[in-house]
Symmetry: none
Subunit: 226 residues, 2 copies
Amino acid sequence: MKDFNLLSRRQQNMLRFMHNYMLERGFPPSIREIGEECDIGSTSVVNYNLNKLVDAGYIVRSGKVSRGLRIVAAIPGVAQAPRVIGLPAPNQVALVGRIAAGEPISLPEDIGHHIDEDDYIAVPPQLLGGYDEGEVFALTVRGDSMVDSMIQDGDIVILRRQNTADNGEMVAAWLPDDNETTLKHFYREADNIRLQPANMAYQPLYVHPANCEIKGKVLSVMRSFR
Amino acid sequence: MKDFNLLSRRQQNMLRFMHNYMLERGFPPSIREIGEECDIGSTSVVNYNLNKLVDAGYIVRSGKVSRGLRIVAAIPGVAQAPRVIGLPAPNQVALVGRIAAGEPISLPEDIGHHIDEDDYIAVPPQLLGGYDEGEVFALTVRGDSMVDSMIQDGDIVILRRQNTADNGEMVAAWLPDDNETTLKHFYREADNIRLQPANMAYQPLYVHPANCEIKGKVLSVMRSFR
DNA sequence: TTGACATATAAACAAATGTTCGTGTATACT
DNA sequence: AGTATACACGAACATTTGTTTATATGTCAA
């Protein structure tokens, strides 16, 4: 167990400053910047105490390189877990388009990677089904055509990019002949494919394999009222 | 709208390298390090293309300082959204119990605040409807009794604790006479209350106000398959 | 006091690093 | 052809920056 109080006041200040600096600027401070902020006249003193912080396990230094610092332990009262600033946040999923009954799904590759930076949404990890966020995307549902699948207008569906599916999985499929996009449970049968609505009160849809392009597997749904 | 393909191959490589470098080392690369990795002979060329990336909005540079780089936009295929410092972390909401047709809802006060710390789930901010996570709780849906409300077995509903409701809001209500819990849209009418299922194919339920205890307002629903 | 040790200071040094400038090479357009 | 533009190259330059050395100060214990 690391004891923050074993550090001198000066070292604690240095740690705090380094953390705040990285939060603000996105990269670590230089030795001289630390010195100025912490009222340390000599760079060698900063260097000395930085090595102390290394010994204490709070930071790691990359020798010879400028700003070669990184915080690797939590700073009590200041920061929680260490993290790399300036990098993308976890669990942000690309919101690549919308899904409606009468039009095909717009996937990133279809639209040539025209993804705006704002078009990302936070998704809790339990909705990613263990998949990497890079292979996952999200669509906004438009229209009430998917009530049979328990999905309504405004819902956001989280999908994993894939062109095949196992029985029972819920898939996003484009039916060229019918000119229709649908979200249903996938079952391969003798001669055709059965697309089963989640709501048992509705009838399944039987389509020929040639008339069923699977665009992705539905991992989860988020619905927000109002 | 940012277009990743508008960047030259070289610029895309630079972005990717910068991202990976920061992931590995915890601080940004120097101009010369970028040049070596991306087979660019001259530092001025790196500098030139870095400024292009600034113009394109992918990075921000801090002039004159070494390694003064930071990535501020998503890199398609590599990284997702940029982290915005100061944004609230994914909110943790108390998962206080389950909701099923034939039994009342167990609210925290009913069970004496015996909430285990494990019984919290991450909920993205957009599903909290602007409410504080303290007044919000979550329930696991058991059974298929709420298909009429487009909610199925296994869904997690996010609610705000409140005993009244405005027309149109979706509420969790306990009906003492019927010994039933239900999730429906709330409409106060002349003599009674109309509880309207989200799926219009189902019939509304009319109850006397004395037979309708509102437990909370439904803010959102999370559904995870498999 | 003496000595050992941790910490601090200032100065000098060497290397790393961002910047700038002159020039060259395509490509597209007039 | 001529011109403009985008991109690239190499070299020189000025800072920034990490490192090292010699010296000083403080504390604590023998």
